[in-house]
């Protein structure tokens, strides 16, 4: 993988562009938004397809169920609000009317994790991946940059079934190929290595990319794999890598409980146990601050990944 930074862009803008493109490709794509059109970057879709855009007001439960009702008739509804209000606030609606009823609803969730920043812990959900991956029928996607979020949005629209699509607020390095086809459930090999496997998702993928040259200087040849689809997990790719490297670090902007690391740990424990370290939030809520300050404060930064690698390699 070429790690050249093409530009710095927010993943939510990748969603906005992806939604517009999906809407152009398929007239059945519709969008609902609970009073966060600007934040979710859904304005271009709303402008181009006003009859297919539904402003619901600040009423997320109603939004989720209306989307389920509309999906019945063959439409492909996206719902847009912050991740906190896309999951915890509407869990029962998502569980009964989307997941259990297996409706073709795409839950687009922005401002996930501590990198939402100054708004603080009420809005910085760190439990959403766990909540969503526990639901049968639900696909959970956490793309890492602008291009990948755009491509994942297009893939979600083409996929038949409930999808939770998680992205964020800050501008981050955009480095994945512009028009790379996003394959749901297929892990993305970013760098092959032999000494340790780093499985990362979302904003932490770039933090892990930055760890690679540091690790190389330390004499550690790390493999980096982007697990952009938490569920269904690419178990084959995980086991294949681990057979080679024999130790694992996971990195995510989420609680340790219920997140990517938890999914990887399950695969390892059941199939091929080996030393593992998790870079994740450890059972606490976030707080106000800038995204960079918060990533440091909650030990979700590049130095934390490097430390975790040192620790896990020593455990081999």
């Amino acid at each position: 993988m070429d790690f050249t930074i093409q530009n710095n862009k927010d993943t939510r803008s990748g969603f906005g562009e992806g939604l517009l493109e999906a809407g152009r490709r398929n007239p059945k794509v519709v969008a609902f938004c609970a009073d966060l059109t600007g934040s979710l970057k859904m304005g271009d879709f709303a402008k181009e397809f006003p009859e297919r855009f539904f402003q619901t007001g600040i009423a997320e439960a109603n939004m989720i169920n209306m989307a389920a009702g509309m999906a019945l008739s063959g439409f492909v509804p996206f719902t847009g609000t912050f991740a906190a209000f896309s999951t915890g606030r509407v869990y029962d609606q998502v569980r009964q009317s989307v997941a259990y009823s297996n409706k073709n609803v795409k839950i687009a969730a922005s401002h996930a994790g501590v990198t939402l920043g100054e708004d603080g812990a009420t809005h910085q959900i760190l439990e959403d991946i766990g909540l969503m991956k526990m639901l049968p029928n639900m696909t959970v996607i956490v793309p890492c940059d602008f291009n990948q979020t755009k491509n994942a949005t297009i893939a979600a629209a083409e996929y038949d079934g409930p999808v939770y699509l998680r992205f964020g607020r800050p501008k981050v390095p955009n480095f994945t190929p512009v028009d790379e086809k996003f394959v749901i459930g297929k892990a993305q090999m970013l760098q092959e290595g032999t000494d340790v496997t780093i499985f990362a998702c979302g904003h932490l993928v770039w933090k892990a990319v930055l760890a690679l040259p540091i690790l190389k200087m330390m004499g550690v040849n790390a493999e980096l794999i982007n697990i952009h689809t938490i569920k269904p997990l690419d178990v084959e790719a995980v086991l294949k890598s681990v057979r080679k490297t024999r130790c694992v670090v996971t990195a995510e902007e989420h609680q340790r409980n219920g997140g990517l690391g938890d999914s990887i740990a399950q695969v390892l424990a059941l199939n091929d146990p080996c030393p593992m370290e998790m870079v994740a939030v450890n059972d606490e809520f976030g707080q106000s601050g800038t995204p960079d300050e918060l990533l440091k404060a909650y030990h979700l930064d590049t130095p934390d990944i490097v430390e975790a690698v040192k620790k896990v390699v020593a455990r081999k």
Binding site: R52, N65, M66, M70, L72, S73, G74, Q96, Y100, N102
Partner: protein, 280 residues
């Protein structure tokens, strides 16, 4: 269909309800009996539907959603009697492996059910979404949804109640099964609903009241609602019903909301309900 024919079907549906709930010794007979006349009139007379060719998308036909999913025995009996699936399957209600789950679901592929319900307060929103889909499709059919009155205590109902008039969703007919009882007692005691008519009117709905256990009144009201569709406003029918209607000892109390009759009680109940179409 004549009123007499509809009443005869309703009597058989009520027998089915008693037999289903008695058969598995669980379920919700009270509300099922009370709402029977409304849903019988919808499925056998008023809705434009094609039971032999059930389509999940509901395109080109009227759609019905049961928001208060616990009155599933009534829903299942009417779906079966209308031809969505074999009447004999009613005997499997709530038994392991059945398509007739305690609350309606789509997971087992039961024809006639389009979405799960059970957790209350969601059906009105689903119906609004389905109604908007019909508008996008240029489909001039109606969407009906039945809700409980206790269910009006759920906050989400009022999100949908605010949305539908604000967006002019006028191909929607919502019905409240207004029996004034819920599982813990009367709605007045549990959480007073206040003036439901005034509340919905204040939200911008056309509100119609009807006697929900008088078949002629039900048919007339549903006809009226269809004639008044597509005039800019959603419609709400406040259906005054009696929980347990048709079985004397189940009426006038909330006690039969969610409990099953024993052998003697079931025999007593069935002696009050004429078998008209043949028991399953």
């Amino acid at each position: 269909m004549t009123i007499n024919e509809l009443e005869r079907i309703a009597s058989q549906v009520r027998r089915d309800i008693i037999r289903m709930v008695h058969g598995c010794q669980s379920g919700h007979p009270g509300g099922s009996l009370g709402a029977t006349d409304i849903v019988t009139a919808l499925y056998f007379d008023q809705m434009q539907i094609d039971p032999a060719n059930f389509r999940m998308d509901g395109n080109g036909e009227d759609m019905f959603f049961l928001s208060n999913g616990h009155i599933s025995p009534m829903f299942y009996s009417i779906l079966a009697r209308r031809g969505y699936f074999p009447v004999s399957e009613l005997a499997t209600f709530r038994r392991l492996g059945t398509r007739l789950q305690g609350h309606p679901t789509t997971a087992e592929g039961l024809p006639g059910v389009r979405i799960a319900s059970g957790s209350l307060g969601q059906g009105l929103s689903v119906a609004v979404g389905a109604a908007q889909a019909k508008r996008l499709n240029g489909d001039k059919h109606l969407v009906f949804v039945l809700m409980g009155d206790g269910e009006q205590e759920e906050g989400q109902i009022w999100e949908a109640a605010m949305y539908a008039p604000a967006k002019g969703v006028d191909n929607l007919v919502a019905i409240i099964d207004y029996n004034k009882k819920q599982i813990d007692g009367s709605t007045d005691d549990v959480l007073n609903l206040g003036d439901l008519r005034a509340k919905y009117e204040a939200f911008g709905w056309n509100v119609i009241e009807m006697s929900g256990n008088n078949m002629q009144a039900v048919v007339n009201t549903l006809k009226f609602a269809r004639e008044n569709a597509f005039q800019g406003k959603p419609q709400l029918i406040l259906a005054h019903t009696e929980m347990g209607m048709g079985v004397d000892f189940m009426m006038g109390t909330h006690k039969w909301h969610g409990s099953a009759p024993n052998d003697e009680q079931a025999a007593n109940a069935l002696s009050q309900l004429t078998e008209t179409l043949g028991d399953y």
